[in-house]
């Protein structure tokens, strides 16, 4: 194996080489660095990279640790001490995180090396990474299309072999949807499974960090390092963490998979529907039993989410006042102007829109009609899932109703963009876990192959079972082995003597 082959490895394969000392952490980082230099100008997955700091960490990496010497990309909403943490927002353009998020501290303790920060929709508000104030990320399968969002940089980097694995955050689908559109694995843990300490808060009762990887077993490896109680996050559950790799390889006999009749909606691309139907048939051939279930409040989930999540965002983003950190408007005459102009100049349109919507639904006279009502509907959605998981081990659906769409196509109509979150968003309302993994391709008119994602949702804290089911599907199909043409077609500079 030559150095230029290293970036194509998954984490488990890389760990194998590192553990046997056939390759050094430094050589791995250098190979990744040249890969990123080649590829990232085409996809714009990264916002900042600090190879010097990473090389220092590589020099003292303990390759006997579970993730020893593995470089991991981090979504730019998660704090890595000394690194920028801009949330792709102008308001945090010059901000550097003074401390590590707990999830980063845990990854480092397991030997991983966070080396760079990935692009995203500003403050994780969006489904296409077009709301980044810096640049949109492009899909490695077709660079005229989006990579999904909000963790679009993490998804694109992994898809293009410009990262071995990455962290994202999922508030309404922001790990699973970009994973689906970019053809990688994206795992959203149950609410409270992973600490939120050190994440820049968007909607605190929804946000969860999770891995984006090339394989299901890589997601399990990262989850082993990330999960667990944290006294610094009062919503982080004090529950034992199983070994998420332990169930991988078990067959699916006795496993019951649910199909929700409410997910058979119009507006799903026929190629997506066909790929998911084929995946369901494949699960049956693997021994799983398919069961029809009902999630009666599905049609209310998107409206409920956009009331509650914007309400929480309006409160969380009040901290961006230009006083202690972040952008501050110049030459303001009084405090109101200081706040008003700082936030006008610092926030992009989608963030402004959501803060205003959230402020409205919490404001006197409208609180009962919107916020209080939505909290009750949230409970109904939660109960829907609780009843479904009495009958089945996991729910199967598309992750996104459509494959990756062209840049600019949907950014003009916020409501249309929100409605595409239909399959992912209810899991965040209910706090359950979910995964997206590749299950096929849709060919476009101009011949591009766009990945299709299969979503599996599981009961709260049932991560190990969801990973087991996903792994069984993945290992009996070839979808995860397909690489984007961008990767295959890269012309390496020819050496001249």
């Amino acid at each position: 194996m030559t150095a230029s082959d290293l970036p194509a490895l998954n984490i488990a394969e890389l760990r194998d080489l590192l553990g046997r000392r056939e390759v050094s952490p430094r050589a791995v980082l250098e190979a990744l660095q040249s890969r990123i230099a080649e590829i990232d100008p085409q996809i714009d997955a990264y916002l900042s990279i600090d190879f010097d700091a990473a090389l220092e960490e590589a020099a003292r990496a303990d390759v006997t640790l579970p993730l020893g010497g593995v470089p991991i990309a981090i979504k730019d909403i998660i704090s890595v001490a000394g690194q920028p943490c801009t949330c792709a927002s102008k308001i945090l353009r010059n901000y550097r995180a003074p401390y590590d998020a707990t999830v980063v501290r845990k990854l480092k303790a397991a030997g991983a090396i966070p080396f760079g920060k990935t692009n995203m929709d500003e403050f994780a508000m969006g489904s296409s990474t077009e709301n980044s104030s810096v640049k949109p990320t492009r899909n490695p399968w077709d660079i005229s299309r989006v990579s999904g969002g909000s963790s679009g940089g993490s998804a694109a980097a992994v898809a293009a072999d410009a990262a071995f694995g990455a962290l994202g955050t999922d508030t309404g689908g922001s790990i699973r949807q970009p994973a689906s559109l970019s053809g990688v694995v994206g795992f959203k843990p149950s609410y409270g499974r992973v600490s939120r300490f050190g994440l820049v808060a968007f909607a605190s009762s929804f946000d969860q960090a999770g891995p984006l990887t090339k394989t299901v077993s890589d997601a399990a490896l990262l989850m082993n390092a990330m999960a667990g109680h944290d006294p610094l996050d009062s919503t982080c559950l004090n529950e034992a963490v199983p070994d998420y790799t332990a169930n991988l390889g078990r067959d699916l006999r006795g496993i019951r998979l649910g199909l929700a009749q409410e997910y058979m909606i119009a507006g799903v691309d026929p190629k997506v529907r066909a790929a998911v139907d084929a995946a369901v048939a494949h699960f049956e051939s693997l021994g799983a039993e398919i069961v029809a279930v009902s999630l009666p409040h599905t049609e209310y989930a998107v409206a409920t989410y956009y009331i509650l999540a914007t309400a929480e965002a309006s409160a969380n983003l009040a901290r961006f006042d230009g006083v202690r950190y972040g952008h501050r408007a110049e030459n303001t005459r009084n405090l109101f102007e200081h706040y008003g102009r700082t936030r006008e100049e610092g926030f992009g349109p989608e963030v402004k829109r959501r803060i205003i919507l959230g402020t409205y639904v919490l404001s006197s006279g409208y609180y009962e009609a919107y916020y209080a009502r939505a909290q009750k509907v949230r409970e109904l959605v939660r109960q829907d899932f609780a009843r479904a998981f009495e009958q089945v081990d996991a729910l199967v659906s598309p992750t996104s109703p459509v494959p990756a769409f062209p840049l600019g196509e949907r950014s003009v109509d916020p409501l249309q963009m929100y409605l595409a979150d239909i399959f992912t968003i209810a899991a965040n309302l209910a706090g359950i876990c979910g995964i997206s993994l590749p299950c096929g391709f849709a060919q476009t008119e101009d011949g591009a192959q766009l990945p299709i994602g299969l979503q599996l949702l599981g009961a709260a804290l049932d991560e190990a079972r969801i990973l087991q089911i996903a792994h069984a599907y993945e290992q009996s199909t070839d979808w995860h082995k397909k690489r984007p043409p961008l990767v295959a077609n890269v012309q390496r500079p020819t050496r001249k003597e």
């Binding site: 559950l237 202690r324 803060i355």
Partner: protein, 96 residues
Amino acid sequence: MAETAHIDVAHVAKLARINLTKEETKLFQTQLERVLGYAEKLRALDLSHVESAAHAVPIFNVFREDEPRDGLSAEEALRNAPRQANGLFVVTKVVE
């Protein structure tokens, strides 16, 4: 029904301390009216016997030991300050 369909974006933006241009105000007014119009569907549900869920996972009264631990030094806390002097944040004049 009518009382909920009226968002006054210019007013709410003031509450949220965000200055908007005239164009933004007009655009957001149209867009958010559509979003709130869509949210009207929640009114079809009878919620009189439903508890509200502030969190997906019910956890209450989480305590930890009140033990001192290291925090940021003043220098570290000031490192991202837009303006500072003498180890303090310099703020916009508040009182005339």
